[in-house]
């Protein structure tokens, strides 16, 4: 469970608050996709949930540890460590004074389940992999970290379409199977429609659309795009009016 109650956030030097009283409550295992224009407050909301930023007011209640995958792959992995070391580091919740190589079979199985042949690099430093492959490993690490909350910030943006599809399918299936509460920011409207139990749209620091259940299932890319442009146009008009006023 994750609850964000009336969260506001401002940054010095920026007149308008980045978040203006955001409320969001996710049930255990719920998968929520977040869309919105650049600067709408999506990443700030995620950083407040992860604890990286402190809210000016409001409250965030988390039912467990938070794992995160961000666009910058170097933040989510250690390139100089081997793939085994990276995944073992994330997967071990109760460390012991015994060799981490005992996890090798488990780790190989997890990587093999991706079906992209990365298991042959298990004892190689992650730096030998491409950025996209490293992002896949970063996602696998976050999902298998035992955290009950997963935050994904455009985690497929650096990948080619084939890899994007593969990673999204892996992410959606894994979080459903493990019952991880997930918030995923994306600019890909197709992913926003296709994946997740719930969709929210942010605009100017507020949640302006929140849909789930049948409403979300019936959503099409076309209708989502129309909604997106409608809110963008409204905010442009409002800004223009405010400026004129």
């Amino acid at each position: 469970m994750l609850r964000i109650s009336n969260v506001t956030k401002s940054f010095s030097g920026i007149f308008e608050p980045v978040l203006k009283g955001v409320n969001l409550s996710l049930a255990e295992g719920e998968f929520c996709t977040v869309i919105g224009a650049n600067g709408s407050g999506k990443t700030t909301m995620l950083r407040i949930v992860s604890g990286e930023h402190q809210a000016d007011s409001g409250e965030v209640i988390r039912n467990g540890d938070v794992a995160q995958v961000v666009q910058d792959v170097n933040k989510g992995t250690i390139p100089s460590m081997t793939m085994l070391e990276n995944i073992a580091l994330s997967g071990v919740k109760n460390p012991r004074f015994s060799f981490y190589r005992r996890h090798k079979n488990d780790v190989v199985e997890k990587v093999r389940s991706l079906n992209i042949g990365l298991e042959k690099f298990i004892d190689q430093p992650l730096s030998v992999l491409s950025g996209g492959q490293r992002q896949i490993i970063a996602t696998l690490m976050a999902i298998n970290s035992g955290s009950r909350i997963l935050l994904l910030d455009e985690h497929t943006s650096a990948l080619d379409p084939k890899m994007q599809l593969l990673l999204m399918e892996y992410t959606a299936n894994s979080v459903r199977e493990l019952g991880i509460t997930t918030i995923m920011i994306t600019h890909n409207m197709e992913d926003a429609v296709k994946y997740g139990d719930r969709l929210i749209m942010m605009n100017k620091g507020r949640i302006v659309v929140d849909m789930s259940g049948r409403e979300k299932k019936q959503l099409t890319i076309q209708s989502l795009l129309e909604m997106f442009h409608k809110f963008e146009d409204q905010s442009l008009l409002r800004d223009g009016g405010e400026n004129v006023g």
Binding site: D65, A67, N74, I78, M81, P95
Partner: protein, 282 residues
């Protein structure tokens, strides 16, 4: 170069290797710029000199020296972590304070221990065996530790602190433990050098950091630091080579007073070579 000079160089190189491991641990595993060597090394020597002059067995003095110097490392870590003082500055402050502590402990600037005996004799090979055993008793458990779950976490602290925090790893605990281990190695080296020379001078630590750093640079320039094994061999190899280079330079006529300039020049040369190599080969 005579055989004696080479053997003496190897003997000194083994002790320098202990210091170099102490320098490598915070630098390479914790991303912590630690300058405590100049204070923790003579502290180990001072404690050893007092113990030996009081008639305590030199073998018993060694763990006490390691604990005293290790505690100094803990103080540096706490000053950095709790008072938010830059790690380099914390090391410099504590090293400066240690100078007075050493003088106070010794009661005078130097102590001759020729009558007190020690672990070492006139047989260089025997001495080297003792140093090798002590070195191995520290490095082998550390190498095993690095391959455990806790060791993996220890390495992660220096390589990606944000990720380590996300995974619930306590940066403070690992930094404190790492500094304790590193500084206890300085204490061990200090006690060994005092027993080897049968003499302790309050100024033995001046410039020791740069000798260790030069050794680490040379070791990493020779075999690199891409893998854990290479990282663990580099300090030993570097210290042995550095000590031989220094011996060769002295036998070729370099004045002992120019030694520190020579060491600094080696460090700069190795850094420049690494940068040039990185530029040329990406």
């Amino acid at each position: 170069m005579s055989v004696d000079l080479v053997m003496n160089g190897l003997q000194q190189g083994l002790i320098l290797a202990i210091i170099t491991y102490g320098i490598m641990i915070p630098f390479r595993f914790l991303d912590f710029t630690d300058l405590t060597a100049d204070g923790a090394y003579p502290l180990g020597g001072a404690v050893c000199a007092i113990f030996m002059s009081s008639g305590i067995h030199p073998a018993l003095a060694i763990p006490c020296c390691m604990i005293c110097s290790g505690c100094m490392g803990v103080c540096v870590a706490l000053i950095h972590l709790k008072l938010r003082i830059n790690s380099m500055l914390a090391g410099i402050i504590l090293s400066t304070m240690a100078y007075s502590v050493n003088l106070r402990l010794m009661g005078r600037p130097n102590i001759a221990l020729f009558e007190c005996g020690g672990l070492f004799g006139v047989n260089i090979l025997g001495n080297m065996t003792i140093i090798c055993l002590l070195l191995a008793s520290c490095v082998v458990p550390f190498a095993i530790f690095l391959r455990t779950d806790f060791g993996l976490r220890f390495r992660a602290v220096g390589l990606n602190q944000n990720l380590a925090k996300q995974r619930g790893i306590s940066i403070d605990k690992y930094t404190i433990a790492g500094l304790f281990v590193a500084c206890s190695l300085f204490g061990l080296a200090g006690s060994l050098i005092v027993q080897l020379q049968s003499y302790m001078d309050v100024g033995i630590g001046v410039g020791i950091l740069i000798h260790g750093l030069a050794s680490l640079m040379i070791g990493e320039a020779i075999i690199g630091n891409a893998t854990l094994n290479r990282q663990l061999v580099a300090p030993l190899l570097g210290a042995l080579v550095y000590q031989q280079v220094q011996g060769a330079a002295l036998s070729l006529g370099l004045a002992p007073s120019d030694l520190k300039f020579f060491t600094g020049a080696i460090v700069l040369l190795v850094i420049a070579m690494k940068r040039t190599e990185a530029k040329m080969f990406g």
